[in-house]
């Protein structure tokens, strides 16, 4: 997070990790992207602002991350051009880490595409963004419970103020492949799998 640059063409630094930032339209992916890379992607308060994509890099604990800001999508079964771009980017970067961005006020909708990503077996991390908006609407999101359920790191952020962004950057290296079967089991209350997420940074919920 110390150095950042953004560019249209992706040239990959040696040994870096590609991070695909994915989520519903209008959840603040570009705002988060700007926060993490110091870039200047267009952010506006209406959906469909990112129809192309941008990439940027940052260094966290000596590791280079190339973040790609993917257009918003509701699912991985594309229904329009922007969604097709999103799906193609997932396909083109099979080794990438996926950062799924959720709107804290609309988590259930965001989790639909999050689970679709997890089904693909890509390492994931979830950012629950717009925590300030949720707070205003008196919505609380149980981050610890979500992390326990999904078995991947879940971090709360407010991209507009920068809250939690540092933590998100640090947690990127802990992104991991989710086990869809285990998630279903935990949802149905079977197999009291209460083991904590590997590398949890002590959220207190485990």
């Amino acid at each position: 997070m110390t150095e950042g640059k953004a560019e249209k063409n992706i040239d990959l630094p040696e040994g870096g990790t590609i991070v695909l930032m994915l989520g519903n339209p209008n959840v603040g992916k570009s705002a988060l992207f700007n926060r993490m890379t110091g870039a200047n992607a267009v952010v506006s308060n209406y959906p469909g602002t990112t129809v192309d994509f941008m990439s940027g890099t940052f260094i966290e604990s000596g590791h280079i991350y190339t973040i790609i800001d993917v257009p918003g999508t509701y699912s991985l079964e594309p229904r329009d051009a922007a969604e097709e771009v999103a799906v193609r980017m997932l396909r083109d970067h099979p080794d990438a880490t996926v950062m799924v961005v959720l709107d804290a006020t609309k988590t259930d909708r965001g989790l639909y595409v999050a689970l679709e990503v997890m089904e693909r077996g890509m390492p994931c991390i979830v950012a629950v963004n717009m925590m300030d908006a949720a707070h205003e609407k008196k919505i609380t999101v149980d981050i610890a419970a979500l992390q326990r359920l999904l078995g991947v790191p879940v971090v709360s952020t407010t991209a507009t103020s920068g809250e939690g962004v540092r933590n998100l950057a640090e947690m990127l290296r802990k992104a991991q492949v989710a086990d869809i079967g285990a998630i279903a089991e935990r949802l149905h209350g079977e197999g009291q799998a209460r083991e904590s997420v590997r590398g949890c940074d002590g959220c207190g919920g485990c």
């Binding site: 509701y74 699912s75 079964e77 006020t105 609309k106 259930d108 909708r109 639909y112 595409v113 609407k137």
Partner: protein, 77 residues
């Protein structure tokens, strides 16, 4: 009482019981079976039909709304 979503009056609330069209398209937008929704806008001819599910506003065509069966829970009056 089970009716088509397109027949739900303004302001009335209902629970989604059946989706007879592509469920995927509606599910990924947050409209799923068992969810409670409220009718916000309903334009004649082709729509749009707009419903509110929690914080979500979902717009769809009238043909889509005709394929959704809901159970009314309140008139909103």
């Amino acid at each position: 009482m089970q009716i088509k979503l397109s027949d739900l009056p303004f302001g009335a609330t209902a629970i989604v019981r059946e989706i007879r069209t592509s469920a995927h398209n509606l599910n990924c937008m947050g409209l799923r079976i068992g969810k409670e929704l409220k009718m916000v806008t309903k334009q004649p001819i082709k729509g749009p039909v707009v419903v509110l599910i929690g914080e979500l506003e979902i717009a769809m065509g009238l043909e889509t709304a005709e394929q959704i069966v809901v159970e009314t829970t309140g008139t909103g009056a």
